[in-house]
Amino acid sequence: MARLNELTIAVARDGLAKGDFSAKELTEASVAAMESVRPLNAFITETPERALDMAQASDARRAKGDVGVLEGIPLAIKDLFCTEGVLTTAGSHILDGFIPPYESSVTANLWRAGAAMLGKTNMDEFAMGSSNTTSYYGNVENPWRRQGENRPLVPGGSSGGSAAAVAARCAPGATGTDTGGSIRQPASFTGLVGLKPTYGRCSRWGIVAFASSLDQAGPLTRTVRDSAIMLRAMAGHDPKDSTSVDTPVPDYEAALSGDVRGLRIGIPKEYRMEGMPGEIETLWRDGIKWLEAAGAITVDISLPHTKYALPAYYIVAPAEASSNLARYDGVRYGLRVPGATLDEMYEATRGEGFGAEVKRRVMIGTYVLSAGYYDAYYNKARRVRALILRDFTEAFENVDAILTPTAPSAAFAIGERMDDPIAMYLNDIFTVPANLSGLPGISVPAALTGDGLPLGLQVIGRAFDEETMLRVAGVLEDAAGFDAEPAFVAGR
């Protein structure tokens, strides 16, 4: 049997059920793995003691026959989720020393399902970034390397620490959040399954807000099945989040029938980007073939407003962020840099507390909301957003899911593309439309590039139809047979 830290959630679950090992043993393996992957800088805070306490409590519950969906499974938690009694930073200097007296709804759901917390993972500051290079706590390294190269690569972002931790086999799963692709893009870069649920499926309560109308929590796992298991535990209506939707949470795992016969899969022509690497084009075509071979019907569709998605996103998200981040003012918690006057205290605190990318977006957001520019930018972006949603709504009258690449490239080296924010923003081009329209999306590892880096395919589903999306993803997973492993695996 593989080492315990290398088990998937489903396999670990079965092993725990059979009594092959205890939650404590499983967690100890992950804690050791967490230590061994420190060079990746995937964690901001390790919580090994809490993990072991939770694992022991899980073993005790199991002994009484009380077994949750994630009973005994150790998980890594993106540092955007507030965790009671544990430092929560959002990757920012401005939350220095912030220890929440409360637990986010999603993590509370996970603990209720029996999971144990390994630690808090590194991330782009306030989830703003696609490379995990904007964190105050330093860059995260991708456990993958290009063949024959030892240059450190980015894990993608913003959930880069979560992705690196799972890819390097130190946790079987991790939470992420996805505002414009922050789960799916790092999943694609690290050979993982990353799922962004329908907006409103998971509660946002207790998750540090980036862009409220776009943020959604989801799992990063090694398999589609694990993604289904974890989502079931994370999801659910929460009266504390007015935008969370009161609809039953299905058993997603049961939806993985492997049967996509007769399903109609849309292939949007607008995702065929000029200058897109041939390997991604090829992968997409493979995906189409795999689904057709499994009995699905692929249909060419048009999502005509796709090209406006990225610009609209980079107006809406910064606008909301500029307001959401106003609370970090040095008055009540986190960093305070003294000043002679109130304004000086604000300026010093926010000037030191926020990094360059956060400042850039706060300024963009402030600008697009300001008098005289509001209609030209913010209102226009809202109208574009409505058109993008309409594109999808019309498409879904004719198809059951949509297949696209996840990202326009594989992981790039740390330092590459850093001087041009626009080039960096292009990472999100295929993922952003699902955020703007609130639809669920999943990235499935499907191929390696010529130089040995993973690439993902994205399935976009109907609102609140994660089941069909997962079923399609499962078929892609099986067909792709992706079994490559990163260069850096914990403990090897």
Binding site: P100, G206, K240, S323, A326, R327, Y333, L369
Partner: protein
Amino acid sequence: MSLVQGKTGEWEVVIGLEVHAQVIAESKLFSGAATAFGAEPNTQVSLVDAAMPGMLPVLNEKSIEQAVKTGLGLNAQINLTSVFERKNYFYPDLPQGYQISQYLQPIVGEGVVTLDLPDGAVKEVGIERLHLEQDAGKSLHDQHPTATYIDLNRSGVTLMEIVSKPDMRSAEEVGAYLEKLRSILRYLGTCSGNMEEGSMRCDVNVSVRHPGEDLGTRTETKNVNSIRFAKQAIEHEAKRQIALIEDGGKVTQETRLFDPDRGVTRAMRSKEEAHDYRYFPDPDLLPVVLDPDWVAELKRGLPELPDAKKARFTADFGLSAYDAGVLVAEQETAAYFETVVAGGGGRDAKQAANWVTGALFGALNRGGMEIGAAPIDADKLGGLLDLLEAGTISGRIAKDVFDAMWESGKDAATVVEEKGLKQISDSGAIEAIVDHAIADNPGQVEQFKSGNDKVLGWFVGQIMKASQGKANPGMVNQLLRKKLT
């Protein structure tokens, strides 16, 4: 129209008000924290009110109900869809860095308030809108020599901002408007109207112009917390603006503060320094969509409001508009009055109104008391009126009985009995006193006989005095005339 005489002619003062009324509700607009007045600092603060990371607002439905009720009470349009937006600015007592408010789509649209002016005239003031918003916390500057402390108890409390049209033309009209608005809010039970506790505050917009001209540039005086201060602020601001213009200056559009110690307004910030609030719809909240049936149900459940009550009092009871207006200003007073009138098988309404607005109000004022605490309740006052009506006591004695009742809390019959104040209507007893008076005062009898009618009044006075006020005055008059002529 009241005009102000300046050096260059007559000026018209144009006033509009933004009233911030704290909604009566157990909890805050978007959190479950309590809202009681006077609690220890920072003891009524939830994680949401303190804007902790990741916290989300959840709308309190009671606030919506109160706003809709108020809108209905102001004869205003109820908007079935309204939207909460964020008003962004930095201030330490605003933890989120934005106030959640309504902007483009408020919950209540145009309405009207009818003023009863002291001169008996009636005036309508338009309501522009009513929207819901969060209150801010409080900065405490006097706790530390160099630092400012923040009390977040008020942070997130529900306010209704009620915006009038610029329809008022004098400080008196503003006073009447505020009184009327407060009366309506209290009737509805949507705001205590208690300005001392800050549960009702107003921003006063003032401009001046020569009659017939376009509107002048206005100033906004913030956070005025009494009707008296509002009037002072307007008077000062109108004078200041007129003097400024007449001296060749220009009014600048600016925000001003009222200094209650000196009764003046002073500049706070100009339009150039004004915040750009960058309003946008709050993505944490869904639009508020009201069910028209629910609104209709609220409307059916509204209490009778001051205007309707006043109309009924004048129509059914024949009261003057003034008396009716005074009686309906407070719901408790109107209820007291109606209880008096309805009791004893139906009492004389005008008589009741006179006693409530006269003796009762006088006693309440002297005691600094609310009507609910009066030692003479409606039934007791009714008992007094019954004795008067039956002729058991004279009108003159009635006032003394009232005072004794106020002192002792006893009912009228008991007081009259204990003090022996029953009116003497026995003709024999009165005749004896009259005869005595005539016999004792031959000089006055002569005067009367020589044509001096006034002496009759003097005799009545003597006789009433001799009877300690208890003699039935009608009978005294009758007997005197008979005996003297």
